[in-house]
Each structure stands twice: as C-alpha cells, then as structure tokens.
C-alpha cells in the first residue's frame, strides 16, 4: 500500500508573500494574470491564489478529495484519483461537458473559455514531482512553512497536535479532514472557515454516494420493469385474444 501524500496549509503562519503563487505559475507554465498575487483569482491560468481577508491570508486550490466528486461525475474518466493522492486530469479523454465544474463542492475546476480546444484546469498537486518523490512547487517555495507537504497521515497528526497545543491560536477545526468525505489538503485557520471564503455547508459524506444510492438501484429497476412490461403485454394480449374468440364464437 502506497502512502498517500498531502498538503497541510496553516493560514495562521501565512504572511501573504505570494511565493506559492509564483512557484505554481512557473511549475505549471501558467501565463501571468495579475501583477499582485493577492488580487488574483483562480482561473484557467491560475491553479492557486492567496486571498486576503482583513489581516488574514488564505490559499485556495484543489483539495484533492479522498473521494473526488469531479472524478466520479466524469463520463469518460478523464479525472482520476491517483494512488499517491493527487487528483489528475487528462485532456485527451475530456469531452468538455463541464460536469466536474458543476459538481465540485469546493468550486475549483476552471475552464479555458476562450479556447477552441478547451481544457479543464486545476491544481494537480504537482503530480510529476510527487511521483518522483519531490514535494509540490508551492510547499518548496513557502518561506514560513505555512504550506507543508508530506505523508497524509503525518500531516493529519501534525494538524491535530497544533490544534491541541495552541488552542488559542486556532479555530478548532481542520478543514478538509471530513468535508465531503475528506481530502488530501488540510487547512488550519484562526477564524471560522466561512470567514475565509470556504464552503461551510459541506456534508461529511462523500458526494458521489448521493448519486451512488440511486445508480445502485438501476439494475433492479430494469429487471422489475422488464418483467412488468412482459407480464402486462402477455396479460392484455391474451385478454384481447379471448375477447376476439368469444366474439367469433358468438357469430357462429
């Protein structure tokens, strides 16, 4: 069993320098979209941003869910959850239906709206680097250690340790531990997460289960439906025939 990798982002340690933003742009060869990293937003050319809320900073990026909604809705499996944890995308499979964008509870995937051959764009947790045992570009660039890369289990333990040891610093919640079934990106903050623009109404259950409950009933529906239709046809057809025979007998 491969150990899953993850990212722990501790917003209380973030100084808003934008080094993660710049490193991400360089690593993924993304076009420059804004001179001030703090005033940008996620787009087809921006996989991660640092946002400012009063005196607080927070990053936004793909959460790399344990049970990714985007991967479950993709009709052709263009988005996959890799064994190591990163959720990756293959434009050669993609139909461009944008169901992943519609479905993502974190509202992360972006689209190349102005392209004639558009791709879905989102953070892929530097899969090529992670595959080779390297950390992600953003965590390597972070000067304060606010963005940490490592084994997911270690990061979970570290996050819990921080909440316990410094209860006054942190809002007592690890965002991403349980949201929508949990994710490989964990976030800590000093204030409730909705104040930093995170979706606070996410269920703990993985969203693919919501459709799974219906999809698993379909074989039954088809079976019962086929039996019902055949039965109905046989019955009504027989009834019509008998009625006809009686009519003919009556004539005789």
């Amino acid at each position: 069993m491969v150990k899953q990798k993850g990212i722990l982002y501790d917003s209380t340690m973030c100084v808003g320098c934008g080094e993660c933003y710049n490193a991400c742009k360089a690593q993924n060869k993304l076009a420059k979209t804004n001179s001030d990293p703090l005033r940008d937003h996620l787009s087809a050319e921006t996989y991660t941003v640092v946002e400012q809320y009063d005196d607080k900073y927070t990053r936004k990026m793909c959460m790399h869910c344990q049970s990714p909604t985007c991967a479950s809705v993709c009709p052709v499996g263009a988005i996959v959850k890799t064994e190591l944890g990163p959720v990756t995308y293959d434009p050669n499979k993609c139909l461009g239906c944008r169901y992943c964008m519609q479905a993502c509870p974190h509202r992360i995937p972006r689209y190349e709206w102005s392209s004639r051959d558009p791709r879905i764009r989102k953070c892929i947790m530097c899969y090529d680097r992670v595959k080779n045992g390297q950390p992600t570009a953003c965590s390597e660039a972070c000067p304060t250690g606010a963005t940490l890369f490592g084994d997911l289990d270690d990061l979970k333990a570290e996050a819990k340790r921080r909440l316990k040891e410094n209860p006054d610093t942190y809002y007592q919640h690890i965002y991403g531990l349980e949201e929508a079934g949990g994710s490989n990106v964990l976030i800590l903050a000093s204030v409730p997460f909705e104040k930093l623009g995170f979706a606070a109404n996410l269920p703990k259950e993985a969203l693919p289960n919501y459709t799974g409950r219906v999809l698993e009933k379909l074989p039954g529906v088809v079976g019962v439906g086929a039996a019902f239709l055949t039965g109905m046809y046989w019955l009504t057809d027989r009834k019509n025939k008998i009625a006809k025979e009686k009519q003919q007998e009556g004539k005789k």
Binding site: L42, S43, T69, S72, V73, C74, P75, V76, G77, A78, P91, N92, K93, C94, L95, G96, C97, R98, Y99, M101, Q102, A103, P105, R107, R110, Y111, E112, W113, S114, S115, R116, D117, P118, A199, N201, L202, P203, L207, P208, Y210, T211, G212, R213, V214, L215, L218, V221, V222, G225, A226, L229, T230, M232, Y233, T236, D237, K239, N240, K241, K244
Partner: protein, 390 residues
C-alpha cells in the same frame, strides 16, 4: 414528394429560414471563437440553456413516444394506437436535436467517441450518454415501419413487425432510465441547489413530470398538425389522453409536496425570494391551471381548451427544467445567468428545425394516416392487424 410546395415562400417559412440562418451563424461563431465568446457561461456557472433547455426539455418533451407506446402496444389499449406514430416521430426528432444541442455545448465534441470506449459507471453523465445513443437507435427502429410502408418494402416491414414489441419494451426501459437520469444529474450538488428543487428523489420527480408532459405534447402535435393539414381530429381520443395527463400531473405534484414535507422544507414556501416566486410560477402554470382545466369535462372535451391545457402543461414543464438547472443554482453561484444571443439563437434554430422536419415528414410519410377521421384505413394497417392477430 410535394416538391413544388416546398419552394413557395410563406410568412412562417420566411421566419423559419431566418431563424435557421441565424442559428447556423451562431454555430460558426461558437466554434470559431469558443464557448466564452458565444455564451454567458463562466467558471461559476458552467451550464446554461443548452443543457437546461435543449437537453433537459428536449428529452422531456419526447416522453410522449414511450408513454403512448406503452399504453397502446404493451397495455394493448388499441384505441391509442393511431397516436403512437406522431409521438414516436416527435421523440425521434427530439433526440436527434438533443444530440445536436449537446455537440454545441461540449467543449471538445470531437472526443464524443470517447464516451463509447471509456466507461465510468459512477457518472450519471455516462448513463445519460448511453441512454441517448441507445434510445435514439430504438426510436429509429420504432419509426422505421413508417419509412418502409412509404416505399412499400414489405419484406423488411414484416421483419420489423415481428420484433416491434421487444423493441418497444426496450424503448420504454431506456426512456425510464433516461428521463430519471436527467434528474439524477443534479443529485451531486446538494449544497449548491436551492432547497425547493433539490431532493434525493429528483429522478422520480423528473420521470413523473415527463410522462404528463409527453402526453400533453401528443395533444399539442395532433392539434397543430390537424390545423396545418385540415385533418380531422379524434377529439374523444385526445380527451382521454388529456385525462391521463391530468392524473399524472396530480400524482407528480402530490409526490413533490409529500417529498417537501418529509424533507422538512415546507417553510421555504413562505420565504420571500425570487426562487420562491419562480417555484410558485412553475406550480401555477404547470399544475394549477392545467389540472383545473383538465379536471372538467367541458374543458377537456373542447378542442380549444384541451389545446390550451396542453400548452400550460408544456410551459410549466419547461419552467420546471429551467428552474432545476438554472434558477436553483444562480443563488449559490452568485451569478445571474441569462443566455447570450448566440445561445438563444442556436436553441431557436434547433426548435425550428424540429418543427420543419416534423411537418415535412408528416406531409410525405404515413404518420397521421391512422388519425384521420372518415378516411379509409390504409392497406398497411390491415396488414399489421393480420400479423398482430396471428
């Protein structure tokens, strides 16, 4: 074929030509400049009327095809048989146009073939794609006898008739899956959708509402084509279709309100918001008015009022699908989506093509043959009865 009449320009023909030309221009524009330039969609709001109207409504309005087939050929209530052909034709054209709409909406339609070879059973979109492909094929097979009759290909016709019942059963099953799966598409967005529309049994709501509307479409087609061709209209038959549609409307609305009550969402009916008003508008147009009309014999058995009722059912249905796919999602996306001229014109083009194709086909193929009052029954019809009673 009545070729000479095709080239005579009338007002409606001119309108149709303009709409189709504008739509074609929009298609070229969309593929030349991309979805961003052609639509008002963006990262916050990735699905618009091409999904909400062209696909959700297109498939729903085609529901008359499987409903009438079930009533006439599986439940063997033979009096409905004459309605089956126009209903199947509408469904077939509807599905072809749905595919066209999908091609405009997909970012990489040239990858459509991938859906056949790359399977993801967890995706409702995968189920939708397969239902569209298979049911379009089935609809073609269901309509094939009409073409074969027209060209008197009697041998093929005999073969088609022997397999017609299993094919219809397959069509009913596929429709059941497809109508409901369009509702299942939205099960994945419980946190984004407005509570009045989100429900874990959304597929059931979609299925029930499609049946009532499919039947209203049968009335609509019979009425408009009877007007267009001066055909007689078997009013008694259409009145009973209206009666069944009414029952389905009542069942559908009852299930919706019971569902709202079980989910503890009735309080949302009292909140003053644009979503609530849209919900009431949908309820009023699609349920209150038509149920009031269709429940009374004098309206149900009046040509004009039956037609008006059908229009209300269809209008309410369209509003419901738009509400589910657009209205209910604007709040959480914080974006007030309204379609661009390109989105609207491609949609209008598809609707126009559907109507023109329906008219041309019904003029040249024996679609309404069995519906004409006082006309002699065709030889083909006798042939079929002989085979069915074997």
């Amino acid at each position: 074929m009545k070729t000479e009449s095709i080239f005579k320009l009338t007002f409606w023909k001119a309108v149709a030509i303009i709409l189709i030309a504008a739509g074609l221009y929009s298609v070229v524009f969309r593929f030349a400049f991309g979805l961003g330039a052609a639509t008002n969609l963006n990262d916050a709001f990735p699905w618009g009327i091409w999904i909400g109207f062209d696909i959700l409504c297109g498939v729903g309005l085609a529901a008359g095809g499987f409903t009438i087939c079930a009533v006439a050929h599986i439940f063997n209530i033979k009096k409905f048989e004459p309605l089956a052909r126009p209903a199947v034709l509408t469904a077939f054209l509807g599905y072809i146009l749905v595919v066209c709409g999908l091609l405009a909406d997909l970012g990489k339609p040239w990858h459509l073939f991938n859906a056949i070879v790359m399977w993801n059973f967890h995706s409702v979109m995968f189920e939708v794609a397969w239902c569209v492909m298979l049911y379009t094929t089935v609809l073609f097979l269901e309509f094939a006898p009409v073409i074969l009759e027209r060209f008197r290909l009697n041998k093929l016709l005999m073969i088609m008739r022997r397999v017609s019942i299993p094919i219809m059963m397959l069509g009913i099953l596929l429709s059941t899956l497809h109508q409901s799966s369009l509702g299942s598409l939205f099960l994945i967005v419980p946190t984004k959708m407005y509570p009045l529309w989100y429900s874990p049994i959304l597929p059931v709501h979609f299925y029930l509402s499609a049946i009532g509307t499919g039947l209203a479409m049968v009335i609509f087609e019979a009425y408009t084509s009877a007007r267009a061709f001066n055909h007689g209209l078997k009013l008694e038959l259409l009145s009973s279709v209206g009666k069944i549609s009414n029952v389905m409307l009542i069942i559908a609305v009852a299930v919706r309100f019971i569902d709202l009550a079980i989910l503890n969402k009735l309080n949302y009916l009292l909140i003053s918001s644009s979503e609530t008003y849209m919900f009431y508008l949908e309820l009023f147009i699609g349920t209150v008015v038509p149920v009031y009309l269709l429940s009374q014999k004098k309206f149900r058995e009046s040509r004009k009022w039956l037609y008006i009722s059908a229009l209300f059912v269809i209008g309410g249905f369209l509003l419901n699908r738009i509400n589910v796919s657009i209205t209910s999602l604007t709040g959480s996306a914080n974006y007030n989506y309204f379609p661009s001229v390109y989105e609207i014109s491609i949609t209008l083009m598809l609707v126009t093509i559907g109507m023109v194709a329906f008219r041309l086909i019904t003029q040249n193929f024996p679609v309404f043959e069995e519906l004409h009052e006082g006309e002699e029954e065709s030889e083909a019809l006798h042939g079929r009865e002989a085979i069915l009673s074997e």
